[in-house]
Structures are given as structure tokens and as C-alpha cells.
Symmetry: C3
Subunit: 646 residues, 3 copies
Amino acid sequence: MTLWFGGDYNPEQWPREVWDEDVRLMRRAGVTVATVGVFSWAQLEPEDGRFEFEWLDDVLGRLHAGGIGVDLATATASPPPWALRGYPDIAPVTADGVRLGGGSRQHYSPHSPSYRRLAGRLVRELAGRYGAHPALVAWHVNNEFGCHVSRCYGEHAAVAFRDWLRARYGTADALNAAWGTAFWSQRYASFDEIEPPRAAPTLLNPTQVLDFDRFSSDALLDLHRAETAILRELSPGVPVTTNFMGPFRGLDYWRWAEEVDLVSDDSYPDPADPDSPATAALGRDLMRSLAGDRPWVLMEQAPSAVNWRLRNAPKPPGGNRVLSMQALARGADGIMYFQWRQAASGAETFHSAMVPHGGPDTRVYREVEALGAELGELGWVERQPVPARVAIVFDWTAWWALEQPSRPTALSYLGIVTDWYRAFWDRSVTVDFVRPGADLSAYSLVVAPVLFAADAAALDGLHAFAASGGTLAVTFQSGVLDESLHVHPSGYLGPLAATLGVRVEEFAPLAGPPGAEPPVIAVDGELGPLTGRWWSEYTHAEGADVLAGFAAGDVAGWPAVTRNTVGAGTAWYVATHPDADGLGRVAGALLATAGVDGVLDRCADGVEAVVRGDATFLLNHRGEQRQVVWRGEELVLGPREVRILT
Amino acid sequence: MTLWFGGDYNPEQWPREVWDEDVRLMRRAGVTVATVGVFSWAQLEPEDGRFEFEWLDDVLGRLHAGGIGVDLATATASPPPWALRGYPDIAPVTADGVRLGGGSRQHYSPHSPSYRRLAGRLVRELAGRYGAHPALVAWHVNNEFGCHVSRCYGEHAAVAFRDWLRARYGTADALNAAWGTAFWSQRYASFDEIEPPRAAPTLLNPTQVLDFDRFSSDALLDLHRAETAILRELSPGVPVTTNFMGPFRGLDYWRWAEEVDLVSDDSYPDPADPDSPATAALGRDLMRSLAGDRPWVLMEQAPSAVNWRLRNAPKPPGGNRVLSMQALARGADGIMYFQWRQAASGAETFHSAMVPHGGPDTRVYREVEALGAELGELGWVERQPVPARVAIVFDWTAWWALEQPSRPTALSYLGIVTDWYRAFWDRSVTVDFVRPGADLSAYSLVVAPVLFAADAAALDGLHAFAASGGTLAVTFQSGVLDESLHVHPSGYLGPLAATLGVRVEEFAPLAGPPGAEPPVIAVDGELGPLTGRWWSEYTHAEGADVLAGFAAGDVAGWPAVTRNTVGAGTAWYVATHPDADGLGRVAGALLATAGVDGVLDRCADGVEAVVRGDATFLLNHRGEQRQVVWRGEELVLGPREVRILT
Amino acid sequence: MTLWFGGDYNPEQWPREVWDEDVRLMRRAGVTVATVGVFSWAQLEPEDGRFEFEWLDDVLGRLHAGGIGVDLATATASPPPWALRGYPDIAPVTADGVRLGGGSRQHYSPHSPSYRRLAGRLVRELAGRYGAHPALVAWHVNNEFGCHVSRCYGEHAAVAFRDWLRARYGTADALNAAWGTAFWSQRYASFDEIEPPRAAPTLLNPTQVLDFDRFSSDALLDLHRAETAILRELSPGVPVTTNFMGPFRGLDYWRWAEEVDLVSDDSYPDPADPDSPATAALGRDLMRSLAGDRPWVLMEQAPSAVNWRLRNAPKPPGGNRVLSMQALARGADGIMYFQWRQAASGAETFHSAMVPHGGPDTRVYREVEALGAELGELGWVERQPVPARVAIVFDWTAWWALEQPSRPTALSYLGIVTDWYRAFWDRSVTVDFVRPGADLSAYSLVVAPVLFAADAAALDGLHAFAASGGTLAVTFQSGVLDESLHVHPSGYLGPLAATLGVRVEEFAPLAGPPGAEPPVIAVDGELGPLTGRWWSEYTHAEGADVLAGFAAGDVAGWPAVTRNTVGAGTAWYVATHPDADGLGRVAGALLATAGVDGVLDRCADGVEAVVRGDATFLLNHRGEQRQVVWRGEELVLGPREVRILT
């Protein structure tokens, strides 16, 4: 297979005379794959049980004749009006008890028996009819699972939640212990008494909420599994994917990634946000990490503007190319779009497309066509690896746990992870993401930011990494709670306290007067003066060297950054969140200890550098010229220039 | 009939001894008309089907004896508690399914069969009893239709919506085509599957939402029609009105205005807002435009403070007079208030009244009395015309369509229209508002700001205006969609693209980083340097002259303001929203092209000048002295001075 | 009884081996009382009607053996899951109709017959078993009544509300008169038509809302009374308390305080808020005032951080002690905490405790232990009085009435009261709070800030105080409405207008353009230049001396501060809300007139001084040294120093 290049194709929105032009323009643009049928349920099954496939036969036939492969969707993402009306249990329900109706999309509860039955029937029909179609290159299960409704609180959800809890805990007593129900008189005599974490007078039981997060991710995953089972039965050998949404809080993609043959991602960086190239890179690296030894493709991006932000800036000239090349550089084997032809009506009328409202005589189409041609020459990157010696621990349990209310202070898990990621990205250092408990032997440096809740095995794994010679960095608010959100019996940090050589006595989150932004805190020591955000604490160095200490307030003189020697390696503890400059210096010190160099000798703002296979990709995301040094050579990159050095 | 002067009169809140003083004070204040019965349903029909009219007989008798005319309300705006309890279908329902209860006002759904039946019965009783009463000068239908509840989403609403859609589209296929239901799997097999746009997982179908807006306006209008039919049957020859609320988004007043004999308006400019004189003027001009060749009256204003803002500033000394005279100058044939006597209890205890809590020995009453005397001398203005050579196209479909989510950028329709209006108001140029498709032959200059959705006929009408010698100005985000919210088949601007001599290739809304205000953009050219807000775009001049171009960013060098010669006239396109200064310069250039002069030779901040009949009204809305030049003569206006020059 | 020292003790969260350490550490820390069982319902009654008391027998036995008294909770604050599932009427319902479920706490409606029955049965069991237990020092009814759910709008609430209204008004006509239902067609034919003030189209009837506030406070009080009746029957002679929450808007504590033997308070000042020592002092003084001649104890405070703010700062070193001593100085006979041992799981895992997660080897425990020892030496303060010659009128009806929507301007009742309190606190003047109508003969100066709604008797009482020689100060927005929220028939201020020698003609709230903060206003006169906030008005001095007048805007020249001689005293009117500096000067002038001195000759920022019995307590709340002058002597107080001078 060559690199995928193409996009979502919704021919049902257009008369057949347009289909002819579509295939012609696709060929001209170098399109290799089209994703078909994502929102076609109502066209495929206009009435309960009556299917109409002729039009789709035609579409697939035309595409195949044009040499274009098809990523065929199972079409289950948006049930038709007849389904919602005939089977009211399909509608999702909010925590306040509001039933969500039709007229938009994704108006189904994953716990609805009717939805599961109808979706399964549709997939069986599709797989039976098209499972061996010569155009078929992949199956596309549903669409962006959980995008708008990742939690449903209705009665079917309650039943399913109880079943999930029975499977997890076995007995009510075990659940009571895990949930700490002795607090606030919440002891359950039986699973039947349990409800989803619906609207309540005040703070809900944290473990109940966390388990509902886990359950909700699993419930959607179960839909995916059910569809996949049918596809594998009726269409053996065809790879199955479902499109992820970057670092999406709703679903634990580590568990999901195990269930697909091909990881695919939808990515919509905001052109008006100067930080978006870095956050896009994070998404690419996460996808590569989720995929492991399987391929991944960029399944959706916008050629220019989207339609769902408050203000939707277009991509600048060259912007589409540089972000596409970024995905390629970071391991993607396909560059796809939503969507092929811009809609003339409907909720996404103003979402840009490969063929805009203005038709092919537009800069947007011309840039797409040029990129298609360029990708045609780049097939050699396919399945080439992207080496990384640095890993960041990324975990949905920690994310869900940290962002509950009733925490020492409000923190953004993704925000803090992104700040750490950015410190490496700015230094042209490629990063993998790893799940807790993963094999870390390939890495020289591992960072665990705000790994708030973690089981002992995961913490032991970090210890082992350091002890075997690695450089480990752990931040404040890590290892505080176990997987059931109980404070680790041995205290904050659990077993890592010994690894790090510190004892955290008491938290001192930075806080200002009511309504004011929290203050920052001065930090000083051998790393030079730093500025800390969000956090300080009373931590004892018990064996660790103090590299920096808090320099103000009640915690003045207490350690802020420490380093401990453990076995053949070192374990660093960072007791605050340095600002961008400070984090850069901490990251620099860690890289130096770990002996990891960046791709560039000298970096520049907005210039990204990454190695894939034998090639080095230099990407200037800015609209101005930039100078960098690579392998001792001064290079000048034009505005939004992409340079591939081999 | 002389000019109306008076207010809402709610004698049922007071013992009869107060009624004597009321009539006495009304006479002293020069009151000519009292609006009676607006919230009297529970007093008129204390139990289901049992009516008590004696008190109202008494009130009307006293007023008539005092020489005061009565604008008699149909009293249907607030159903009594027994109605809500006895007929639960009366209660409106929100999009989230919340039933709105009693204890306030307007707690009825326009779709409730019970409400329609009970309201009709009451109106029939009233019209039968008072239809020929000698005091009667007008019927006042309901009150501020739609003020708090202009959309109801309950089950009766669903039934009525389906009926409305059947009448509009005939077949489900036609509806599917208009709504673009091929998108997101929304194809309806029958009208029975359709629901109101209730709470949903994400963006609703835009045409469904627009049709629900249209339907909701029509449903309330249908209530108005039902009452009016009874009144015309039982009280022939008496003019019927219902009080509008200025530029109110909920109802398409162009359609409503066709149904009344007399346009009336409620207007509450904020005394703390220095821009409120201009926005009040806009409201007056809109009412005059809605009325056409019928009269209009200012039905409600506050003598001083209102009670429903967060902070309710009183009107300053003289403030009541200058705003009243503004209405007169802009065509009103009546100046009325809410309300006559300030309430001693209830939700509007702190709404000012002609007779305040402090009684007649107050500046508020004294100012009212003085104004009454003054109006007694101004009867000659009645039915005198207010000439205008400039028109602004104003349209509810464009308003509803532009302010949906999922637009290129978030824009305020009324905000942008107001900015354009203000540019003319500041130059003492009187403006009419016109609906799309209106006869424009009376105007020299027509501006169509953000006419986002418009049918081809309306756009053709604008073309014809320019071709026949007019000066036409059209802004960005006009003519993008048709009346069903499909992109015009010939592209953005539809047929106007040829008129304007431009082709809009791609939108480039101004956007900043997440959470930040959008940046502005520099514009330069023969109009001098301007600052654009909200918008830029990639537009090709295809025949038009480029008067100004964008001077920064990716759109640098692309046209921002163009002028095209078309037939005997010119057609201008404005591709951004200039700030106040820039809009003033654009307006000035348009006025010069169109040969339209302002009333004043030199204007001043806060001074309004308008001609009605043979008189020129000069109104200084500021608390400080102002100098202007009128017909070559320097005039000094004192603080809040009103000068009428004839 | 010695001073109480201890905290909430939740042994059910821990295995019994921990209980041994608990008693040992409690003894070491000087704990005298433990509050047990607050959230034990599910442990005490694991199934409907089956009780398990053995564990509690054990706990009480151990505590008694350790010499520790028990404040035994009735455990009714959080019904077990079986109760909510078995008796669905228990769940509270919001104004929008949302049913609040379990999983947190306080998920009960006070109007639920099932809840009342189940709670009564539990209390009867507890009182029967432990009513004469030798460890028992007090009964602790429920917990923080109304904390999360002080208003319930369900069907049982409607029934109870109607009964309460029948008892208050007797006839529907009387209710119609009181509620002013002639406004907006709200006349009720019978009580059966009345509903709680649920979600409605717009502003609700103000008196309906006020009566619902009163009713809701009374309904919870009725729960308290029902429990108390059982306790007094089965456990005679044991004092009963329920923990208040400082100045809590939900409940009228003047009515509540009558029903307890011992006032107790939960107090959580924010360590990050530099104003919190003053607001904490206000709470202490309110509790002392509520208690009258009964004792009061600080029932809950945090040794360090709480967990429920967005950001939870720890108390600084010494901070726990200084705030504890503040309570003692202001009359408390006990210093208690939530809670004894920090929870390992559940919603309050991160709420600090006397024994933190880190165990006794922590600064938090060490500070607790030191304080316990210190309190052991301070038993002599018990029942010693705290003299005050200044009183502030504090009233829940005024609070509820002022903060309704539809007011002249948005004002914070507690904010304005606190500003006045602060002016005295800054001058080391102790203040009592009094309810309207209270005996004022003990005071030299009485201040009534924004006493928006008040009956004539209360206003007459203020008059009598001034006439008999007192110094009275009344602010704007006082005496506007009567107890039914009708404007006083004689005008604003009602009978106080004569007392104050003023007539308020019209309000002029300060307001800015939409979205802007309101402007301030200059005031000038013999008090020097002041800055007024929120308010100005048109007030005539009719007998009073004008001490200061507004110096800007339309009210320039009108009185801002006046003083009237009335009988042997003086009555001051303050027609704006001066800023902190100005309020200090007004307070200073009032104190001088009343002949009241502060405890200190010279005060300092953050230093509090108060006399209890024969001792003077000096408390430095700041982290820096402070100098004050006391009885002519210059004293230096170290950071957070507490000095007790006798």
C-alpha cells in the first residue's frame, strides 16, 4: 500500500453528476484513499430493516475504477430519525436527567440495547456485502467515539454500570473498601443500590466518579469490539480502525489502541494559536506511541478553517503542508482530510474541504493538489521508525483523578504534560509517550508529570528504570493516590519516596485572594533563579541533593528540585511547575544527565526538527524566516518551509 | 385624535379612593390615553368561566368622565393561577425539558390548546362588553409577545411545528432537500419523525433551527391574529395594536406589522449607557419603517429608572423629555409610559412611574407634567412624515442565520447594523429600515450589512436599485446563503457578485489565540488608513475598483473596500467591519456619492437632528452644552436641551 | 466542664487497631471532646430497620476510658443508599425539577415524609441506647443543616409550603394582599394553586420568594425540633446543639438559636485571603450574639488546608493557633476541628486533620498538640463575658429581600455588613449583632446597614434607642419595604424618616455602561472628602444637619451623610457606601459621638484586640511584626503572636 492521501467522501450529499467530477478531481489531486459512509446510515437504511445499497455499490465502483481505495465506514455514528423515534432508549441522558434528542449527531447511548441491536444489524449487512470488495482498504468503525457524548447517565447506563462494577469487584464489600464508602454514610448493601454519578447536592464519591470514567470508556470500547467482531468474521484480513481525537480525555486510548489494526487520528490545531504546532506534534507522538509497531494515519484534518470554534481562522498559505509533513515526520503513513468536497448545507457548511465552495480554482485546492503530488514521491517513508530516547508517562486514570473537584488545587493534567512536552519539542528532542507499567528499557530519560494516581506496580517500574541507569524525573502531585484513589499507605509518592530520596510532609498550593489569579513563587539554587507556578510544598530531602529551593513565603528554604542517586541512575523530584523558561532549564539539565541530544545544534522559535528513518525533517511553522544549526551547518528556512534532509 | 400621552394604568392594585386621585392627577398632567387591563385576567376572571367586570366598568367610566381615552388590553399576557393548575398544557417548556411555572408572567405556551381556548373566551367577553365603549381608542392585544418565552419546545410545540413544516414543504422529500438532511444521517421518512431543536449532543441542523425560529414567530403571531379576529368582529372600526419591543430578535416584526392598525413600541434605553440615545433612535426609525403609512406610538418607556437591570440608573433631569421628543421627532404620534402609578409591591416595585412612590411632589412627576403640557401644544406634528433618503436592509432571517453557532466567526447582527446606523446618526442623516425585497425607489443610498442569508429575489432587488442609479453598499457575509441556508449555487454573494464586481474566494475571520480578543486589521487606500474588526477575506476584484486593501497578515494586498459601476449607479463592497472612525469615513464617502446631506452642517457628540414635517428637532442628549451649525448658523444647545426649529 | 478541645472522629473509616492509637494520641494532644457519628447512619443501620451498635459501643467505651467526652451525632445528615433507593421521595429536587441523587451527602428533602420517619427512628434508637452514657457531653443534631440543599422544590415541598402559608395567612385573600398578587394577574383563589418559586419565565413574585426562604428555613428547623424532642425525652439534661455555618444565608439563625442549648459553629476562613481574620471575627461575634447567655463553641475548623476551594492554601505556621485564640477571645468555650484523622479516601481526602496523612511527625500535629496544652491552662476563660457597646443590626429577612433580583441595584448584604463590621474591627472595637426589635439598652452605638425590609416595630425600636440617648446610624436602602415587601406607606424609611430628619425622594444607584463596573462618587463635607460606592440618591434634609454631600453627577449638592438630634440622642443617615477609608472616618465620628473607645490606643493592620472577662487578647494575624499601643504602652507583636494580658 502506498501512503494514504484523501479524505472523507460524502457523495450522498450531491447528485451523481458531481460524482464524476469528484473522481476526476481526486485523480488529479493524487488521492489514494477515500473514507466513505461515515454518516450514511439514513441513506443505507431509510426505514427500519429496509436497506438501500445500490448507490453505495455505484460509489465504490466508481472509486475502484478510478484507482482509489476505500476506507469504508460502518455508518453507525448517527442513527436515523426513525431509530430515535422507534426506540426511545437510544437517546443519551445527561447527569441532570436531560434526554438528548436528534437533529445533530451521536445521539445514542452506548448502553442502549436497541442501539446495539440496530448497529450490529447494519454492520453485518455492510460487511456481508462489501467485505471482499476490491476497493476496500480498511474498515472505519463508527466515528470519533465519545466526541460529544462520552458519558450517559440514564437507566440503561445504571444497569450497565452495576454489571461492570460486579465484574470489577465481585462483592459489595470489596466495592465499599475500594470506594471508601465508610465516608459520608455511603455503604452499599448491594450493587443494586448504586447509581451513576448523577446530579447530587455536593462532591461525589471520587472513586465512584473514576470508575464511571473507566466504565464509560469501556462501554464505548465494547461497541467498537462488537462491530469489529462482525467485521473480522465477514471481512477477514481487512484492517480495522476507528478515528481517535488526539489526547482526548473521554477515552483511555491505551486500552482502545489494543483493539485496532491501524491507529488513526483526527487533528484540528487552531491556526490562530501560535502554540498549536507544538500541541499538534504532541498528538502525533501520542498516536505513534499508541500504535507501537502498527501503522498510524492522520485520518482527519482541515485543509483550511474549521467551523466549530467561536472564530475560525483559515490555515495560512503553506500551513496545510507544514502540518501534514509534521504528521509524516512523526510516523504517519497517511494524510487525510475532513472532507473531500465542502458541504453546501448542514451544520458543517463552513468547514473547509479539499474542494472548497469556490471549486478547484482556489488556493486551498491548489495546495491540496501540490501536496498530493509531493506525497506521491515520499512513499519511501512508509513504516520507517521515529527514534526517541525520552518518554513521558501519560495515563488516563491520573488525568481523570487529578481533574476531579476536591483536590488540593485545580490543575490541568494535559496542560502540565504539554508544558513538559514543549520543553523537549523546543529543543528538537523527540518524545514517546508511555503508559504506566510499560517497558522503559529503550529510554534514557523518563518524565512522570503529575502522575496523581498510580498503582504500586507502575511506581515500582519507574524505580526500576532509574535503578538500572535511567534518568527519572517525577513532579509534585505524583503517586499521591493508588488506583482506587486511596492515599498510598506509605505516604505521598508511595514507594517512589525512597527512589527520590524525599518525604512530602504537606502540600502548599499557591493561592491568592478569592477571585485573584494564584501568585507565582520564586525558586533558586544551582539551576539559577526559576519561577514556580501552581504549587509549593513542605518536602524533606531524605537522601536527595537539593538542586533548588523555594525562596519565598512560608515554604522558603524547603526543597523545590532534588536529585537522588539510585542504583546506576538518578531520580529527580520537581516540587513545583516551573514556567516555560524554568522548565526549559530543568529539561536541559535532565537531557544533559541522560546524555540525550536534540536533532538541531541550535533551535529557533517555531522550528521543529524530527528524524524518521534516514531522513531529517525541518519544519518552519512560522510565517517568517528562521535560522537553525544542524550538524554544524547554519540553515535558513523560509516562511513555513519544509526541508527534508537525507 | 390628539397625540397620545399617558401610560399603563393598573387600578386593580389600588383601593378605589386612589382612583379618584388618579383621574385628577392624570388631568393635571395632560394625560389623554390610559392603557388598562394588561395584567387583569385574574381580576376579570377569578375562577374558570366566572367573569367580574364591575370594577372595570367603573374604571372606564371614571376615565371617560375625565376625558381620558382607553387603550384596552385583552389581558391575555398572564394566565391566572387557576388556569395553570387546571390546564397543565399551558406551561411552556425549555429546550432542556424544564417546565416553566407560574408566579411571574407570560407562563403560557403559544401551542397550548387550553391557552388558546381560554384566551379566546376572555377576549370575546371583553370585546362584547367594551367593543363600543365611548372611552375606547384602541385595543391592546396581549403584551410584549415573546418577551420572556419566544420559543417553546414541549409536545404541543412539536405537533404544531410538524404542521407548520407540512404547510411549508408539502413532502418530507422537499424538507429533506431544504434542510440538507443528507448530512449527518438526518433524512426524515415522515414529518412525524421531526422534533423541535431540543437539547442535543452537538450542533443542530441549521435549517431546522431557522425554521423553528420562523415557526415560533408565526405561532405567536397566530395568537395575535386569533385575538384580532374576535376584536374586529365584535368591535369593528377600533384600531388594534400590540406592543413591540424595538429590534427584538424573537419575532419577525415585518410579518407582525402587517397585522396591526397602529404600530406601538416599548423602549427602555439605559440611562447609564452613553450610546443609548443612538440605539433608541434606531428603535424609533425601525418602528416608523414598520408602520409605513400607518401611525406609530411609543407605548412604554420609563419616566426614570427601571428595575430589571443589574444596576438601574435613574434618568437624569431632562432625560425623560429629550428621549420623548426624540420619539416625536422620529414619527411617533404618542408618548406613553409604563406605568402611571408606581407599584407598592410585586416584581416591579422599583420600576419608576409617572406618579412615583414619593407622589406628585417629586421631580419625576413634575417633569411628566411639564412634558404633558408641552405635548398639548405639539399636536400639529401628528401624521407628519419623516423624510429619509438612506435605507438599511434589516431582516430577521439574516439575523437568525448569522447568529447560529457553526459560523465562520461569531458576529452580532444587531451590533453591526447598529454600528452602520450610528455612522449616519452621528452625521444627522435620517435612516429608514427596509425589508429584503422592498421597493427601494425612494432612496438614494441603501446599505445591506451582513445580509447573511437572502433569497435570490432580494439580491436581485438590490442589483436593480444600483442599476437604476442608486448607491448600494453591501458588506462581508452577505448573500452567502439562500433562504434555506444553502450556499448560493453561484458562490458567495450569489447574483450580487456580478453587481459588486467581486469574487469572494475564501473567508479569513480575524481570530486570536484561545481566550484572547480577536485582533484588528489595518486597511489602507484612498479612504485613508482604517482599522477593520472581526473580518478579512480573500476577495478578487473582478471589475470593481479597489478603494482600500488589507495592509497586514496573510490577506495583505487583497481588497477591503471596492466600488463597481453598475448601470446608472454604483455598488460598494466592504470586506471588513471598520471601527467607528473608519465606518464614519466609509459612510461619508457613500453619502457623498449618493448626494445625501445631513440635517446639520456641523454635528456634535450626542446631538441628534431630525426633520419631521416642516420642523427640525435638535436634541442634545448630553449633560453638557454643545455647539452645532444648522443652515449656516452656529447654535448653542444647553444640557439636554430640545429645540424645535420651524 | 472544661474547655472543649478535639474534633470530628470517624473511627468507622479505620480498622480497630488504629482506634488504639487514636485514643493514645488524643490524650497526648489534650483532647477533651470528640464528635462521633456524624456520618455513621449506614454503619449504624446497614439495612432498613436493622441496627448495628456494637462498634459504636466500643468507640464510646474507649473514649470514655481515655477520659474523653463525646458529642454524639444523631447521624441523620446522610441517609444510606438503601434509604434513597427504597424511598424515592427522600431525594431533593431543584427549581428546574432536577432530582438530586446519592453518592455525596445531604441528599434528602426536609419535606420528605420518609426521611422524617427514618430519621426519627434512628434518633430514637440512638437516644435510647446512649442517652445516659457516661461519656456523653452533648447531642449533635444532624450536621450543617442546609449546607448544600437549603431549598427543595419538589411535590412534597409544595404541599408543605401551602400548609406553612395557610398557617401564616389564614385565608387566600390575606395572602393575596401580602403578596400583592394584583400585580401580573397572580391572584390565588385557594392555597392549592400555589407552587414553590420554581423555574419561571421571568421575575418571580418577591413575597412568594421571601416566604419560601422563610418556609425553607423553618422546614429544616422543624427537622431539628423533631430530633430534639426525642433527645430531650430519652436523654434529659444533656445539652443539644447543631453546628451552624457562620453568617449563612440559607437559615435564619436567630430563630434557630432559640432551639439549641449550646450554639456551635463551623468556620473555614481562607488562609489565602488577607481579609479572612476580620470575617472570621465577624462569625465569632455573630455566634456569641446568637448564643446570648448560653455558651458557644467553635465546632469545626481546619488545622490547615481545606479541600473544597478551587485552590486550598494551608494555614501558615501559627495560623491555626491565632484563629483558635480569636474564637476563645470572642467568647468560645471550645475549640474543635474537622477532623481528627485525615481520611485516606473519599471526597474529603485532602481536608487537613489534627493527625495528617503524614502522621504525628508533622508540623500540623505538633501545632495541634501545643495548642491543646495551652488550652489546658486557659480554663479560667470559660463563660467569661465579652463586653460590647456597639451593635450592628443583622437580619435574614433584610438579607433575603435585598438580594432578590429586581432591586434598584445589586448589593451584597453580607458584604456591606462586613464592611461596617470591619471599620470597627480595625479600631479594636468589639461589636455585638442584634436582631431587629431586640432590646438595645445595653449599647451606646447601633448601626443598621441596608436594613432593606423591616416591620414598623423594628424601626420604632431603633427610634426609641436614639431618643433615649443612643447614637443610631442607618444607611441607604433601609426601611424601604415592610415585612411583606410592600413599600412603607409613609414612604422610604417608614417611621425612621422622622427620626433621621430626612426624606428620600428618589434612588440614584451608581451604574456604568453595560458590562462596566459601576463608577464611584465623590462626597465632601465636614468629614473630609470621601468616596462613595454603589449608591447615591435624591434625599432632602428635613431637620437633619448635612455632614457631607454628594459632590458630582446629577445628585451633586444633595446630602450624603446627615445627623439629626432626636430626644437625648442622635440619628445619622448615610446615603452611600463609603469605601474602607471613608467608612473608617464615619465609624470614627460615630464612636466619638457615642463615647466608645477601642481596646487599643493605636491599632495596626491585621492586629486584633478584644477583651474577654479580665483578659485582653492581642492577636497578630500577619506574618510580620506589628507595633500597637495599649493602655499607653507601646507593644511589639511578633509574626502571628498571641498575647494575653491580664
